[in-house]
């Protein structure tokens, strides 16, 4: 059986199995995940092809996956796992791939905004304990330089009472958690 190949450990397939218990070798390439994926049309490698790359167990294929735009376009909607005949938990695989891509500094250039979104989101929570939406969007704009984005939406949100200009400081609620796990942000 392929999935007990001894050299798996030195490749992403091994990291994934160790962190999530998922065996990428179970995938038999039916393509249902790619067919149902709402973001597939925007991806550089379709979800089933990401799995195929991982099955190859080569540094070149692994690097290709970690540098792909696809892993950042996954919306974690779970349509793939809902329909997978082999129950390969692709959303869990994607979480590992994103963390590895950040760790090895292989993030696809087009995914920089998405990474900034996560950093702004989590940075806001680290500072305030809860998501202060106004501060989060301002932080995102500064990180990405998209200063004019949503300039028309914000005033309407404010008028409708959906945006608060002043945050509440509840940093203490999460300081311990972020001290332990905030390194990647």
């Amino acid at each position: 059986m392929l999935h007990s190949e001894p050299h798996e450990d030195s490749f992403l397939a091994g990291t994934i199995r160790q962190k999530t218990g998922v065996s990428v070798q179970r995938c038999y390439q039916c393509g249902k995940c790619s067919a149902g994926c709402p973001a597939a049309s925007e991806m550089d490698i379709a979800p089933s092809v990401v799995l195929r790359h991982l099955q190859l167990q080569s540094s070149e294929a692994d690097k290709h996956v970690l540098g792909s735009y696809s892993i950042w376009l996954c919306l974690t909607c779970h349509t793939c796992i809902a329909r997978c005949p082999m129950e390969v938990d692709l959303p869990k695989v994607m979480d590992v791939l994103r963390a590895e891509s950040l760790k090895h500094k292989l993030v696809h250039p087009k995914a920089k905004d998405i990474v900034s979104f996560h950093r702004s989101f989590l940075g806001t929570i680290r500072r305030f304990g809860r998501l202060w939406e106004m501060g989060f969007v301002a932080d995102y704009k500064l990180r990405t330089g998209h200063l004019m984005q949503d300039i028309a939406v914000a005033p309407v949100m404010f008028e409708k009472g959906k945006l608060s200009l002043i945050p509440q400081f509840r940093k203490k609620l999460v300081s311990r958690i972020f001290a332990a796990r905030g390194g990647n942000i």
Partner: protein, 299 residues
Amino acid sequence: MKIGLYPGCSLEGSAREYAESLHAIAPKIGLELKEVEGWNCCGASSAHAVDHLLSLALPAKILAQAEQQNIDELVVPCAACYNRLASAKTEMAAEQKTRDEVVKIMNMPYSGSTTIKNILEVLDHLLTPETVKAFPAFFPYKVACYYGCLLVRPKSVVHAERMEDPVQMDELMKRIGAAPLDWGMKTECCGASFSITRTDIVGKLCGDILEDAVVRGAQAVIVACPMCHSNLDMRRAEIEKVAGKKYDIPVLYITQAIGLALGLTPKQLGLQRHFVPVSLQGKQKNQQNVPAALKAAVA
């Protein structure tokens, strides 16, 4: 029914009307809510994309707080928070090692004893054909019940009975006199957190959802998730830009539709906060206008 409440960040901001409508209907349907004190953000769509243990520790701390406050049952109206809390609980129950790591990070005892419920489960319990008899009005519209992703997937976490064609929300709508439509986009993704980073994708996905609802004759889309709501409502301009056409169909939280059937005013339900105007109103019940289906339901 007395139950703990984890509102989550959206309900304090962009989804304020979801909180307002929930609190407005609660006393009228026999629901007593006790908010978890000192709650933090669950990490939602970002924590899991960056650090797995962070994505478990943030919701675990909320559950640990609930335990300390003797909350045995917790309702989580935001579908995203619900999914994150339920995921953390499931994963910690499955792996002792993970649970130990999380407990060490948050430095709080955790037993995993709290039952986590989404809004549909709680409403299904309280809005029985018997209790809706007492409602002064009904909500006589054709509706497209939109579940999105987080209330139905993944099955290891959310124990939805019909993953591809859920009916729980449809059943609730029938009970208040609405006609839920059979449609094709019930569980398609709205684009979630790409609202800010890839608004074009949200525009396309939400356009497909609205188009199907409109083609089938829906007068409103009903949701139970702040992300679905903000994408379908606040992103209407982007949706129309991608689709090249106008969509007037309003998007209501399930609690707002129920509120209208309870005879509450649009303002009490926060309907004025929507970007897309809502002109639907509850209709007072009298002998003439109660639809046959509702009469049968409450008979």
